[in-house]
C-alpha cells in the first residue's frame, strides 16, 4: 500500500466526486430523487461496462476531449435555459408582460410540462454529469495507479473520496430542501452554466486558470451576471431597452 498514491488519488478524485455530487443535487432539485438516481445508476453501469470491456485500453480509445465538449455544451444549454427563466421571473418581467389569467395558464402549462419533461431533464443531467466525472475518476485511478504500479492504492484513494463526498451529499440534503423553489432553480441554472462552460471550454482547448478552481470563479461570475441582468430587467430600469 502506497500512502502517497492513496492521498493523491483521494484529492484528485475527490474534486471530481464533488462536481458529480453538485450535478446530481441540481438534477434532483429539478426532477426529484427518482430520475436523478436512475441517471446516476445508468451512468455508473455504463462506466463499469466500459472499464470491464476495455481495461487500460480505455485510456487510449476514449475521446475525453470531445466527450467533455459535448457534455459541457448540453449542461450549458440546460443551465442557460433555467437561468434565463429565473432572471425573467425574479425581475417580474414575465408577470408584467402577461395578464393574470395568461400567467396562471402558463404556470399550469409549466407544471404539466414539468411533470412530463423534468424527469427526462433530471435523468439526462445526472447521467451526463456522473458519466463525465466518473470517466475522469477512472482516468485518474488508471493513470496514477498504473504509473506508480499501485492500482490497489489508487482504487482505495478513490473509494475513500467517494464515501466522504457521498456522506457530505447526505448531510446537504436537508438544508437544500429548505431553499425556496425559484431560488433553487436560479442556483441550479448558475451551477449548470458554470460547469457546462468549464467542461465545454476544456473540451475545445481552453486551459483554465488554476484548473478546477475556475469553476468557483465561473459560479461567482454567472451569479453576478444574472443579478446584473435582473436589475437591468426590473421595471423602470430597462424601459428604454424594452
Amino acid at each position: 500500500m502506497n500512502v502517497v498514491v492513496v492521498l493523491a488519488v483521494f484529492a484528485a478524485s475527490g474534486v471530481e466526486f464533488v462536481e458529480a455530487l453538485t450535478i446530481f443535487l441540481a438534477a434532483r432539485s429539478v426532477g426529484g430523487w427518482r430520475p436523478a438516481i436512475w441517471g446516476t445508476m445508468v451512468a455508473l453501469v455504463a462506466l463499469v461496462a466500459l472499464v470491464a470491456a476495455l481495461g487500460y485500453a480505455i485510456l487510449a480509445l476514449f475521446p475525453i476531449g470531445i466527450f467533455r465538449a459535448l457534455v459541457g455544451l448540453i449542461l450549458l444549454l440546460f443551465g442557460l435555459k433555467w437561468l434565463r427563466k429565473a432572471v425573467l421571473r425574479s425581475s417580474g418581467r414575465k408577470a408584467l408582460h402577461d395578464e393574470a389569467l395568461i400567467y396562471e395558464r402558463e404556470v399550469q402549462q409549466l407544471r404539466q410540462a414539468s411533470s412530463q419533461n423534468t424527469d427526462s431533464l433530471a435523468f439526462a443531467t445526472a447521467f451526463n454529469g456522473v458519466l463525465l466525472e466518473g470517466s475522469e475518476v477512472i482516468f485518474i485511478v488508471l493513470t496514477l495507479g498504473a504509473n506508480a504500479g499501485m492500482l490497489q492504492s489508487a482504487i482505495l484513494g478513490a473509494a475513500i473520496a467517494f464515501v466522504v463526498v457521498a456522506l457530505a451529499g447526505v448531510l446537504l440534503r436537508t438544508p437544500l430542501s429548505r431553499v425556496p423553489e425559484n431560488t433553487l432553480k436560479w442556483i441550479v441554472g448558475i451551477m449548470l452554466s458554470a460547469f457546462g462552460t468549464f467542461w465545454a471550454g476544456e473540451g475545445i482547448g481552453v486551459h483554465w486558470w488554476r484548473q478546477d478552481v475556475s469553476i468557483v470563479v465561473l459560479i461567482v461570475l454567472f451569479a453576478l451576471m444574472s443579478l446584473g441582468l435582473r436589475r437591468w430587467l426590473e421595471p423602470g430600469t430597462s424601459e428604454k431597452a424594452a
Partner: protein, 63 residues
C-alpha cells in the same frame, strides 16, 4: 449597420434557435484556440456566453 446587427441577432435568436448563441460562442473560442493559445480564452468564452444571454433577454424584452 445597426439594422444589419439586429437582423443577425434576430436570426440567431429566432424561436427555437435562441440557444444557438452558446454554440456560436464555443465555435468562436474553438477557432481562436486553434490559432493561438492564450490564458484569456476562458475569459473570452464566458464573455461570449454572457453576451448571448444578454442578447436573448434583450430580444425577449422587444417581443
Amino acid at each position: 449597420m445597426r439594422k444589419l446587427w439586429d437582423v443577425i441577432v434576430d436570426l440567431v435568436y429566432e424561436d427555437g434557435f435562441q440557444f444557438l448563441g452558446p454554440i456560436v460562442a464555443l465555435a468562436i473560442v474553438w477557432l481562436v484556440a486553434r490559432v493561438t493559445q492564450t490564458s484569456w480564452l476562458g475569459v473570452l468564452l464566458f464573455a461570449l456566453i454572457a453576451l448571448s444571454l444578454y442578447l436573448s433577454l434583450r430580444r425577449e424584452l422587444r417581443g
